[in-house]
């Protein structure tokens, strides 16, 4: 047949690396931040085994001792090992950060997608509700939720705190996902699915949802960083994790404020931990966005 196209296979990416290797090759900064994230996750999971001291053990023989070989990051006013507390704090940060970001982003994605799909009055109602939530700054909204829900600790983790961090994330994510869903909805392949007479649920699940996964993943990584920061903020304000549970934000508050001139390691090391976590998740999110964007693929 004269109209048979000449179909030379095209090479797009080196396939030998696998997805992870390709990511590391294209996004070295992202790969580095991914390593930091993995180390923090491992620290959180293995905290009781890898930390040199018990995070809660009080040692009156070594109050406020500066960093040394015995105490890598020094000790606090109760003689507790700061380095061990930071490792344990990673567990708190990861559990609260991951679960509240996941909860908030998923809730926001469902709300945003529903808003776009149904349109009309549903859209208007959801968006006005979102407008109200967006009128509050993130921290203020979280404070309100904490104040209303009180404390509900389960296995040492405060469920109310997770919700307090998740709820302010919802409106922001729902806006982004709604915009993305509206764009996808206007694509000709959705029209093609409609002309094929497919059902609404099929169009939503099979044709729209997979195309919203990318913005969702990007929002998720970005908001994990936000959630960790918010948890630290709330703990610092005394509304988050309670003593004696080790948490990075908490370590900056209380008597650390009294001693930070004489014992700066009390604020420096938890501060580094918070910054590192936030920067790592943000950079990873950026790298993931670039990696998943087909327009940026060579």
């Amino acid at each position: 047949m004269t109209d048979t196209a000449n179909l030379q296979p095209r090479r797009l990416n080196r396939p030998t690396f696998g997805a992870l290797g390709r990511f590391a090759y294209q996004q070295p900064v992202g790969a580095a931040s991914f390593v930091v994230i993995v180390v923090m996750l491992l620290a959180g999971i293995l905290a009781p085994w890898v930390s040199p001291y018990d995070a809660l053990a009080v040692d009156y023989g070594a109050l406020l001792s500066p960093p040394s070989l015995d105490h890598l990051a020094g000790t606090d006013a109760f003689g507790r090992d700061v380095f061990s507390r930071i490792i344990h704090g990673a567990r708190t940060a990861m559990i609260i950060g991951l679960s509240s970001a996941f909860l908030g982003c998923t809730g926001g994605a469902i709300l945003g997608a529903a808003s776009a799909f149904f349109g009309g009055r549903v859209d208007a109602a959801i968006q006005r509700f979102v407008d109200i939530l967006l009128a509050f700054p993130l921290v203020v909204l979280a404070l309100v939720v904490v104040a209303i829900l009180g404390r509900n600790p389960v296995f040492g983790i405060d469920i109310s705190l997770i919700f307090a961090i998740a709820i302010p994330i919802v409106p922001q994510v729902s806006r982004v996902i709604r915009a993305a869903a509206l764009t996808v909805q206007a694509m000709p392949y959705i029209d093609a699915a409609r002309t094929a007479g497919y059902s609404n649920s099929r169009i939503i699940l099979r044709h729209m949802a997979p195309n919203l996964v990318t913005p969702y993943l990007i929002m998720l990584t970005a908001y994990i960083a936000q959630a960790i920061l918010l948890e630290a903020t709330l703990s610092f304000l005394g509304l988050g994790v309670a003593e004696p549970t080790p948490a990075w934000g908490l370590m900056l508050s209380g008597n650390a404020q009294d001693f930070f001139l004489t014992a700066p390691w009390l604020v420096i090391f938890p501060g580094i931990a918070i910054s590192l976590a936030v920067i790592a998740f943000n950079l990873f999110g950026d790298a993931l966005r670039d990696y998943l964007d087909p327009r940026l693929k060579q």
Partner: protein, 672 residues
């Protein structure tokens, strides 16, 4: 012209590399004389735009690198100039006009500011002087009421007007050379003619050389003095427009000219096509780059050919140009067109639209009265089984909306759509779902009409699954292979994702997806408009073959009159939501009745310089009226060359002027 004009620009052995390995421009050389128009033609990815950008030294810093070459302009070597000197040259001696008039003007600055800016910077004019010159420039590019319009913003101008403003900016400092990169590709055909006539006229009057970069061979034939044809980053042929069109000496040029559907010729044969795809520049063949697609390729084509002077005075990069010139090697004539499955006593009617209208509300808000766009207005037409109805018109004429109404993607405001005698719009949901299968679509943009997250196989298989057309995974896999084969794709393409395919291949997947439903009626909405000429021919032939094999009926929506002439059996012309004229294809092209159809046909250039010289293009004035406030009476009267006072008052109904030939114009006399 008196005596040979001095040489203005000489490009020698210019090579540009991207990322250190991909040569987007490879050893390109040409000259431009003062006041002359050089057209650079080529398909997408052939390096024509990169050539233009590299002349201006506008390649993105750190991405593009000049591997070799000299660009002498007016005695200076542009590649040796300092960035500061280059800045002075740009906009002053060389101006550039881009494709997208919608985005190349800054939306927050007035038109006046943007025209005066180069005058102030390059010529050091004061405010009042600059303003006077800006008024003069707007007059020069045909914008009336210049004094007032200087204070307006780009959004208050139409696309064609914006392109005029871009030209005015380009002209501001009396340049010696204007580089126009696809200046009219984004514009409608009547506006395209206005802009190109203006550019040609200005170039003659002000003695400005013009480099016109385009993929449209008709434009080249009408406006160029000389032509350079690019293929895969190299120039393969150059010469005077007459020589290149009448006596091409390179197989690629020959193929290109033969694969363009012609507006001025009745169709007897299938379109000739150039087989295959252009090479990937990252690993281009070492010899002649066209050899893998060339019908005349021989062993020595593995050696890279050099541009050598031919009998026509041009240059050709083909080892066998002498044989082409002598006529000893010739292309095989195109196959005859496939016979159509039309019944002897006229086709049976399959689709009938009766007084179909669709209006949209726009700008609705709290306390705001919405505007009404009449996208489709009182359209009545019928389509016979096995025929192809071509639907042409400029952007915003409602042709795509009409297609969407038939597909059920929009609900009509009033009127009926009957498919095989049954009204689709009134049918119960179950019936509609069944009818949906019979009416399928092929979209314009092969990049966005396939779900990027699904493989080719699952895209084609989905309808089989949903409608239970084949039971079991094996039977479905079998059918997918069959469908892919039918559209000329290899079975192993099923595992690929859309982004791994070329534009033409994607369009084939879109066709296979439509065929999977076993439809009887297919709406082709600009199905070949986004494709390069050589690929476009392949897809048109495929559609025609499928129509003959499967007895399909097509509604072929397009703005390209030549393509419509080639593929259609009947043609309907739309303007501002209304049908202006319907007739058999040959009748409408040979003897158009409606003034709008005449204007459209005149505006479209034909790829033959000899014919173009004899045609005096009739330029239709003005812009398309906004569909928000269509003119009263006949919607075309504001631009119509023969309109009178009477036309303002009467909305003309389509009348049968000749048997089977309808026109909606009160000025057309009934003919026997």
């Amino acid at each position: 012209m008196n005596g040979p004009a001095p040489e203005l620009l000489r490009v020698e052995d210019l090579s540009v590399e991207f990322g250190g390995r991909l040569r987007a421009v490879d050893g390109v050389g040409f000259t431009v004389k003062a006041g002359e128009t050089l057209a650079v033609v080529g398909e997408s990815g052939s390096g024509k735009s990169v050539t233009a950008l590299s002349l201006m030294r506008l390649l993105p810093e750190g991405v593009g690198r000049y591997a070799s070459g000299r660009v002498s302009f007016d005695g200076k070597d542009l590649l040796d100039l300092s960035p500061g000197e280059m800045e002075k040259l740009r906009g002053q001696d060389i101006a550039m006009i881009f494709q997208e008039p919608m985005t190349s003007l800054n939306p927050i600055l007035t038109i006046g500011f943007q025209i005066m800016e180069p005058l102030r910077i390059h010529l050091g004019l004061t405010g009042a002087q600059a303003r006077a010159r800006a008024v003069e420039l707007l007059g020069l590019v045909g914008i009336s009421d210049a004094e007032r319009r200087l204070d307006q913003y780009p959004h208050q101008f139409s696309g064609g007007m914006r392109q005029r403003v871009m030209i005015a900016i380009g002209l501001a400092c009396d340049p010696k050379l204007i580089i126009a990169d696809e200046p009219t590709t984004a514009l409608d055909v009547t506006i395209q003619a206005q802009i190109l006539e203006l550019m040609k006229d200005l170039s003659r009057r002000l003695d400005i050389a013009l480099i016109l970069i385009t993929h449209n061979l008709g434009i080249v034939a009408r406006y160029a003095d000389r032509v350079a044809v690019m293929y895969a980053a190299r120039i393969v042929e150059s010469g005077t427009a007459e020589a290149v069109f009448a006596r091409p000496r390179h197989p690629y040029t020959m193929g290109l000219l033969r694969s363009v559907p012609r507006l001025d010729r009745a169709r007897q044969t299938r379109l000739a096509t150039i087989e295959g795809l252009p090479p990937d520049l990252a690993n281009a063949p070492s010899g002649c780059r066209f050899a893998p697609r060339c019908p005349f390729a021989i062993a020595s084509c593995a050696e890279p050919p050099h541009l050598s002077e031919t009998d026509t005075g041009g240059l050709s990069a083909c080892h066998r140009w002498e044989e082409i010139a002598a006529g000893t090697i010739r292309e095989v004539p195109a196959e005859p067109a496939p016979a159509r499955l039309l019944a002897a006593d006229g086709p049976k009617e399959i689709m009938r639209l009766e007084k179909l209208s669709k209006t949209f509300e726009v700008g609705r808000g709290i306390g705001r009265k919405p505007g009404i766009v009449r996208a489709v207005e009182q359209v009545s037409l019928s389509v016979g089984e096995g025929e192809t109805l071509g639907l042409v018109g400029e952007s915003g004429c409602g042709k795509s909306t009409l297609g969407r109404l038939i597909l059920g993607l929009e609900e009509p405001t009033s009127g009926t759509i009957a498919f095989e005698g049954k009204d689709i719009t009134a049918a119960p949901p179950a019936e509609r779902r069944r009818l949906r299968r019979d009416i399928q679509v092929i979209f314009q943009d092969p990049f966005s009409s396939l779900n990027p997250r699904m493989t080719v196989g699952s895209i084609v298989e989905e309808p089989l699954k949903v409608y239970g057309l084949r039971k079991g995974a094996r039977a479905r896999g079998e059918r997918v292979r069959e469908l892919l084969d039918q559209v000329g794709l290899r079975a192993d393409m099923a595992e690929r994702y859309p982004h791994q395919l070329s534009g033409g291949q994607r369009q084939r997947v879109g066709i296979a997806r439509a065929l999977a439903m076993e439809p009887r009626f297919i709406v082709c909405d600009e199905a070949v408009s986004a494709l390069d000429v050589s690929i476009q021919g392949q897809i048109i032939n495929l559609l025609e073959r499928l129509q003959a094999e499967l007895g399909l009926t097509f509604l072929f929506i397009a703005h390209d009159l030549a393509v419509v002439r080639h593929i259609s059996t009947r043609v309907a012309v739309m303007y501002l939501g209304r049908v202006m004229e319907i007739a058999d294809r040959d009748a409408i092209y040979a003897e158009p009745l409606h003034p709008y159809t005449k204007v459209l046909l005149d505006a479209a250039p034909v790829p033959d310089p000899e014919i173009e010289k004899t045609r005096a293009p009739r330029i239709v004035n003005g812009d398309l009226p906004s569909p928000l406030s269509p003119p009263p009476g006949c919607v075309f009267h504001t631009r119509c060359p023969i309109a009178t006072e009477e036309c303002r008052g009467i909305i003309p109904e389509p009348r049968e002027i000749r048997p089977g030939h309808f026109a909606a114009c009160i000025k057309v006399e009934a003919q026997p």
